[in-house]
């Protein structure tokens, strides 16, 4: 199963309620105190205000430097530019808010039963959940909501966590071990729990999640700050280039003895077209949408910084079980010694496993059925008695009258056949050793005194995981398998799964040491973990994803929580991190490349009166100077709206080496950004002319 198929279907981009709320919010965001946080769009707002004044001046005095109508049209579209950028941000925030509202429903103030002593029978008092303190112990019984986050100290119960995970199947929570954390706002379905409170109201997991998805606590990520610097620098450059154009044109007009200085309205229009409004307007939406994509993948990140770091990760530490292999070993081959038919071995092995309900036992029945057409039989129908596995015998099987069929570890079976008067041949020993050498587990099958052969049990590597790892390798990400197996077994599975490295017989200390070793070499390490003993390693890793089923300690140490508790999710997290950066970079390139066409539209228009010869630069053959400027301004505003879906969804992501990705994005967004505005501006010009806005 791939990580992708586990995700819920993505929410549609444009929900009516969200869009309506966002439009209102877009106007509210015009408040300059809020706009100033985005330097690019703040410049546009100031420009809009300025052209509006110019329009008012033209209306009241009757002698503006352009016609009042033109100043009005430019002003309106400049205001639209600001509103559209705000709309993008509001849309992204709106999607987060919708998610938060769902969560907030779970966060109700309820009456909790605070216990005097940490045991079930103790006396309790009813207290508001908001007043619970860290360290208080509460009793929760079937049907009740868990008041705040805590750690189970007594009891076992099934809990409905769908309010948080969206997963309707209940989960088991019990004291001790790695299943002891409970989350406030989830509901107990059965039994009872005694829980010690670990975080107070307002700081619970649910509260943090709400704050996160709402973007209330959103801080700019490091790359976002660096990009802001670049955008601000570009804005200043273009501000200078346009402001100085006024004295230049005064000089030109004086020297040429014709024409007039460039009208201020036109200069503001040129400025707004040149500064990177496309990326400036969409930048914060991209960041919020990146967090939103994490939430949709059922991952809660504690900060945008963590999401961004995920894109930089180049070493993934993955637990073997559940991530690389299916949970259990399975029978993969029957290996009889010479002189014994493989079918006889298969038949005996199946008989010995019929009543064995362990996954290994079932897999032997299935292999015999699939490989040799041996149908599963009912133990009762055969009149057989099941001999279960015990710690003393260390084997299991069936008795069919006098016939004793057994399977078990080599030494156990050896003792059994010797006691029956048989011998454990050197050939069988050789097969057993051979299987072990390949990293698999040998089970020997005996029928009375006769040894029939060996069943090979192997870890089954998940389908498609090898391809996934190859994909990661092409992206420059190393995968390291962590396992408690011995080095031999680990090496064999590592080879089969195609990981780059493995850590066998891993202890928490070794994991921590390995992470530090990678970091010392300059790598950025990501890992998943769920147990309390994973906490030090999680705290050390650059991107640490705690499983939601894990302990509170693991969740505190990590910087993300995977609500699905799916270790393969790490790969998806890396993709989301990369996609967010790629979207920013590509739209920046697009935004800058757009400027070329705008120059070709506006420069000839601005100097039409002074230097009519510059008309040759008007490669688009636009209708008139006024229509050229209007078309460029309108294009500049509409492109923001047109790119909102892209900003929210993120650009197409396919894993590939960096140079391939760059080549592709450069072609689409660089060359595309260079070419696209030409037909668009020409089209707008034709449309405006056809509508009769600019009489010829």
């Amino acid at each position: 199963m791939t990580a992708r198929s586990l995700e819920p279907a993505p929410r549609p981009l444009f929900e009516r309620a969200i869009v309506a709320g966002a439009i209102v919010e877009a106007f509210k965001k015009l408040d300059p105190r809020r706009m100033v946080k985005n330097p690019v769009m703040f410049v546009v707002e100031v420009g809009s205000f300025f052209t509006t004044l110019l329009w008012a001046h033209a209306v009241f005095t009757g002698q503006g430097d352009t016609s009042a109508g033109f100043a009005l049209a430019v002003s309106i579209w400049l205001w639209f530019t600001v509103v559209f950028a705000n709309l993008a941000e509001a849309m992204a925030e709106g999607r987060g808010k919708a998610q938060a509202d769902r969560l907030r429903k779970a966060r109700k103030d309820i009456q909790a039963k605070r216990l005097a002593e940490p045991r079930r029978g103790a006396a309790f008092e009813l207290i508001s959940s908001a007043k619970l303190l860290r360290g208080d112990v509460v009793l929760i019984e079937a049907g009740e909501l868990i008041p705040v986050d805590g750690e189970v100290v007594e009891g076992v119960a099934s809990v409905d966590e769908s309010a948080i995970t969206g997963e309707s199947a209940p989960v088991i929570r019990e004291s001790g071990g790695d299943r002891s954390a409970v989350t406030g706002g989830t509901r107990l379905l059965s039994d009872w729990l005694v829980v010690r409170i670990t975080s107070e109201a307002g700081q619970t997991f649910l509260d943090r999640m709400i704050a996160m998805v709402e973007g209330a606590k959103r801080q700019k990520t490091p790359n976002e700050i660096a990009l802001d610097v670049l955008l601000a620098a570009l804005t200043i450059i273009f501000l200078l280039a346009t402001v100085t154009l006024r004295p230049f044109s005064v000089f030109a007009a004086t020297q040429a003895g014709q024409g007039a200085p460039v009208p201020l309205t036109m200069l503001v229009a040129l400025l707004v077209c040149l500064i990177p409004t496309t990326i400036g307007g969409l930048l914060s939406a991209i960041g919020i949408a990146g967090m939103d994509r994490m939430v949709q993948a059922n991952v809660i990140a504690t900060s945008g910084r963590a999401v961004e770091a995920a894109g930089d990760v180049d070493v993934l530490l993955l637990d073997k079980t559940g991530t690389i292999t299916l949970g259990n070993r399975q029978a993969t081959a029957f290996l009889p010694p010479k002189g014994i038919d493989v079918k006889e071995l298969a038949d005996a092995a199946q008989l010995a496993s019929l009543a064995d309900e362990t996954p290994e036992g079932r897999s032997i029945v299935v292999l015999a059925k699939e490989g040799f057409g041996l149908r599963g039989r009912e133990v009762k129908d055969l009149g057989a008695t099941f001999v279960p596995f015990t710690a003393q015998t260390r084997m299991s099987g069936v008795d069919l009258g006098a016939r004793q069929v057994r399977k078990g570890a080599a030494d156990a079976i050896s003792r059994f056949v010797t006691s029956q008067g048989g011998t454990f041949s050197a050939e069988v020993t050789a097969i057993v050793e051979d299987v072990a050498r390949q990293g698999a587990t040998p089970l020997v099958v005996a029928d009375g005194a006769r040894v029939l052969g060996v069943v090979q049990l192997k870890d089954i590597v998940k389908g498609g995981i090898k391809e996934k790892f190859a994909e990661l390798r092409r992206m420059g990400i190393r995968t390291v398998m962590i396992t408690g197996d011995n080095p031999l077994t680990a090496a064999s599975i590592a080879a089969e799964a195609g990981v780059d490295d493995f850590l066998a017989e891993a202890t928490p200390e070794q994991k921590l040491a390995r992470i530090r070793e990678y970091q010392a070499k300059g790598h950025l390490v990501a890992m998943t973990g769920d147990g309390t003993n994973d906490a030090p390693a999680l705290a050390q890793a650059d991107v640490a994803v705690a499983m939601n089923t894990g302990t509170q300690a693991a969740k505190e140490a990590g910087n993300m929580v995977d609500l699905d508790s799916n270790p393969t999710k790490l790969i998806r997290i890396v993709e989301i991190g990369k996609q967010m950066l790629m979207t920013r970079g590509s739209l920046t390139t697009f935004s800058i490349a757009n400027d070329v066409a705008k120059y070709f539209a506006i420069i000839p228009a601005a100097f039409a009166a002074t230097y009519p010869q510059l008309k040759v630069l008007d490669v688009m053959r636009l209708h008139s100077p006024a229509s050229a400027v209007m078309s460029a301004v309108i294009f500049n505003a509409l492109i923001i709206v047109a790119l909102i879906p892209l900003a929210l969804r993120g650009i197409a992501y396919r894993p590939a080496p960096a140079s391939t990705v760059l080549g592709r994005n450069l072609l689409v967004y660089g060359v595309g950004g260079l070419v696209l505005p030409f037909p668009c501006i020409k089209g707008l010009d034709l449309l405006l002319t056809a509508l009769g806005v600019f009489p010829s």
């Binding site: 490091p222 790359n223 700050i225 660096a226 990009l227 610097v229 670049l230 620098a233 200043i236 450059i237 273009f238 200078l240 280039a241 346009t242 402001v243 100085t244 154009l245 004295p247 230049f248 044109s249 005064v250 000089f251 030109a252 004086t254 020297q255 040429a256 961004e308 894109g311 930089d312 180049d314 390798r473 992206m475 420059g476 990400i477 190393r478 300059g522 790598h523 990369k578 967010m580 950066l581 790629m582 920013r584 970079g585 390139t589 800058i592 400027d595 070329v596 120059y599 420069i603 230097y611 010869q613 510059l614 630069l617 080496p657 960096a658 140079s659 990705v661 080549g663 994005n665 450069l666």
Partner: protein, 563 residues
Amino acid sequence: MSSHALIELLASFVVLTGLAVPLGEWGARLLADEARPTTPERWLYRLAGVDPASDLTWRAYAAALLVFNLAGTLLVYGLERAQAWLPLNPAHLPGVEPGVALNTAVSFATNTNWQAYAGETTMSLFTQMAALTTQNFVSAATGVGVLLAVIRGLTRVSAKGVGNFWVDLTRSTLLLLPLAALWTVLLVAQGVPQTLAAKVEVAQVANATPQVLAVGPVASQVAIKQLGTNGGGFYNANSAHPLENPTPASNTLEWLAILLLPAALCFTFGRLVQDRRQGWLLYAAMLCILLPLTLLGLWAELRGVPALAALGVDGSLGHLEGKEARFGVVSSVLWSTATTAASNGSVNAMHDSFTPLAGLGPMWLMQLGEVIFGGVGSGLYGLLLHVIVAVFISGLMVGRTPEYLGKKIEAREMKMASLAILLPSAAVLVGTAVSSVVTDGPAALGNPGAHGFSELLYAFSSTANNNGSAFGGLTVNGPFFTLSTAVCMLIGRYWVIIPVLAIAGSLAAKRRIPTSAGTLPTHTPLFLGLLVATMILIGALTFVPALALGPIIEHLQLMGGAS
């Protein structure tokens, strides 16, 4: 275009590359931190009281550099003012007037070598040698020092220091000295004067009175003016003067000297960062911009002016106005782009008289920030600023925090790179804007209209980017221009050096990230294209409106027949 033009172009650059590669390797060996100080070096350090082993933080490095440059500026100013009382003044020249003296002191300290004076009639031989020639060496060495600090920033891991300015200064000067000596000898062999006499009298054929030729230690100054990307001529006519540049052979030598060190330092860089491909990429990026602009200039000049052809002017050798007959169109155009690409500024023809498009190339090469070859050291560290911007944008596009040579490019680097790219551009635009509206500006123009605007734009492009080349036409020794251009020169030099050193310090402190398939390679043709596109876009987008009002409109008017 004639095959002669193409052959000369091709041959020149093949020879340049052939010399630059080994010189770059030699330079790397000389300048590497591992190189042990030679005996003369040790004497110098003992004399100056410098501990060559001490390692300076970027702030301390910058402070040492600024103090040294300030001292140099004051010294040059003092020598200029006092030259009447100093020895070696055979022509009995008076002290230089304060505005010009200040402008010149700043100009030579900043490696600009903008000349608001005529050398042979303003500066005594002592001033030419002790003040100007000395600055030619140490201003270039200062540039190399900053480059070395940046290289250390890229190569050191989690380090505090970026090197020792005094050691870098000494070693870079020792790199320049033998080359300058060699070039001096070669130029003398071509007939460039090298004497302490002030004048020679030559009998004239048509006139009874002998002609007086000003001479002096010309060859030694010309050699370093070219090698150190200084460009300040001994004579007012610079390398168009027959005694500074007498023959086609001397012309070739001087042309090579203009580009040689900026080219060689690319290879020094590649070797010192232990990845020669990086050096080749930077060199290729420079050629990718220089060669097309040179071809544009050649095309425009060889094609000539239709209006003149209509008057019966023979255009078979191209547009010869303002050019030395012994060099012709091709060598003049090659020089014009080389001298403005490298922040040299010496001229062997009058750029003012070029056709508009051939004049556009040199102007735009300066406006790009003197990073296409650029000054010795300063060109390469300037180019690295653009690499940082290109790496940043492309790094985001591949979905990783951008990195260059294993060092992460983050907010601080972007802030400093933006500042260093922004300020010289701002100085050009603001300087031109102010000069085009104050009365002092238009009054100094040699020509009206769009050409006059080009003269102003050229002057500020040249000074704010520390080139020093003059378009001609403009009279620049008045107080408005000596002061405004001096301010531009200071901004263009030190407001790039300080942010660049800050970047060096911040990079040196970082860890190195190992390369993987996820790392964006910075030696590929794809990255080359991206880097060139970044430079062109930023350069073009900033200056297109200004250029449209200068050379572009002038070209259109000329071609359209209107005046």
